[in-house]
Symmetry: C2
Subunit: 255 residues, 2 copies
């Protein structure tokens, strides 16, 4: 597909799920066919799209342990063209259950490759949990590039070094062509000095998307309605910023 | 000790580290001897107290795998009476390295029990990573009670059910007397309806501390100076709120 992205940052609460859900929705609203895979046992991306874990049957867990094909677990979403592979709490067990399997790190990649042979998608996005364990490694191996949401705060900046080291390790081993699509600044508060300092620092070392996601209460309200913000309040600052990010992601031609 | 607490919530970015660091500091500033254990491979509590992971030698990782005693890894902090057992990235490996050890879930408890025989502490706090894996389970088994920082947003509320289910599982197995000290509301924005709705909902089911931690930029600035907010800016709203929480934690007599 055009974008095959892992939305990743082991720092917690930086806007991974909010970015994955709203970018996926905004890309679908531009007429693209989009698959969002929820690889977080918390299942926030699933409930943010109207499929809370208690309502989900088979999930990405069943796909990873080889009981189901990805096609069998797909659910429709409130946006045409957007499909979800949901997560449930079972996913917590996958890390231990797969510990002795030689192909444990490439289960997700294999499942996506099988799906794409009979179901076309323009974009595949994977929402990752806040850790660098097997679930995140699966997402890194499955993706062509990473999209890194970054909250402009001290602890989040500190975590970037660990994240890049993990990406290097995956490149050195399982997936030599893994790229970094770019960083997206999230929850950005323009009145806050620290935010500008962190933003200036990361722009020196990484590609940072023009779209900067402001702190916007509509973004934290939308999930309680099971809708992306681009449906819940399309003219909000949060929705506009994610539409801009989606346009940046669909404009660049893959070289 | 008086308080032997695991600061836990698998939802990312809800203020676990900020709460652990600032409560530990505020308790020490009241003249108590306090031990803060960093069980998160990100090592945010460590760097928030002036010991970034790149400067740390032996850490809690060495204690868990049996190479060092807790006493050997303690570091002094910018507050008298506060000691830190730091974390490093090595901790990521502990979950896999201990997978076949029968006592893997009670390594931390055993290490704390040994320490307390020759070094008295009034309070022991453990900062947990944003997951429900072996590191968090170790903290739950090692603690007498849990302190749950709760961001008043939809995804964080949704995660509470999973957290309570995990606590029940630990109670049913390894640690029948594990208690819930209470919830502390963090990053509270009084102008936000959702925050009040979430707060009202949780107060129906749990004990919630009177101290409510407001969103306060001084809290996110303090870690870049390697200091708790109670030193960095003692009269800030954040510092005052954590002092209040510390007084609630030291007032209640353990029954
Ligand atoms: N730009 C924003 N403005 C306001 N609130 C936001 C914004 N982005 C995310 N949020 C809210 O902040 C919280 C954290 O965001 P989110 O859950 O997307 O982060 P995450 O990185 O996926 O967290 P985790 O590490 O737990 O997976 C959520 O309650 C979300 O609704
Ligand atoms: N009350 C507050 N007001 C403003 N900023 C805060 C507040 N509490 C925490 N922060 C900031 O929000 C971010 C998340 O907080 P923190 O890192 O303590 O959460 P956490 O639950 O420990 O995250 P993780 O899940 O990654 O361990 C940090 O950058 C922190 O400085
Ligand atoms: Mg998330
Ligand atoms: Mg933390």
């Amino acid at each position: 597909p055009f974008n095959r992205l892992a939305v990743v940052n082991q720092k917690g609460g930086v806007g991974k799920t909010t970015t994955a859900v709203n970018v996926a929705a905004a890309l679908a609203q531009r007429g693209r066919r989009v698959l969002l895979i929820d690889m977080d046992p918390q299942g926030n991306a699933s409930s943010g799209l109207g499929h809370p874990t208690r309502t989900v049957g088979s999930s990405i867990y069943n796909v990873l342990i080889g009981e189901a094909a990805l096609r069998d677990v797909l659910l429709p979403c409130p946006v045409d063209g957007l499909f979800l592979a949901p997560a449930t709490q079972d996913l917590v067990a996958a890390e231990i259950e797969l510990v002795d399997e030689p192909d444990r790190a490439s289960r997700l990649r294999a499942a996506i490759d099988v799906l794409l042979t009979d179901m076309p998608f323009d974009d595949v996005l994977v929402d990752c949990p806040p850790s660098l364990g097997l679930l995140t490694v699966n997402a890194l191996v499955a993706a062509d590039e990473v999209l890194v949401p970054l909250q402009c705060e001290y602890y989040a900046l500190e975590g970037l070094t660990h994240l890049m080291a993990t990406i290097e390790r995956v490149r050195a081993g399982l997936h030599p062509t893994l790229g970094v699509k770019g960083l997206v600044l999230t929850m950005f508060d323009a009145r806050n000095n620290l935010a500008h300092q962190v933003a200036a620092e990361v722009r020196k070392h990484f590609f940072v998307f023009d779209a900067v996601i402001p702190r916007n209460v509509r973004l934290s309200e939308a999930p309680s309605h099971g809708k992306p913000v681009t449906l819940y309040d399309p003219s909000s600052k949060g929705a506009v910023a994610y539409q801009l990010l989606a346009s940046e992601l669909s404009a660049e031609k893959k070289s």
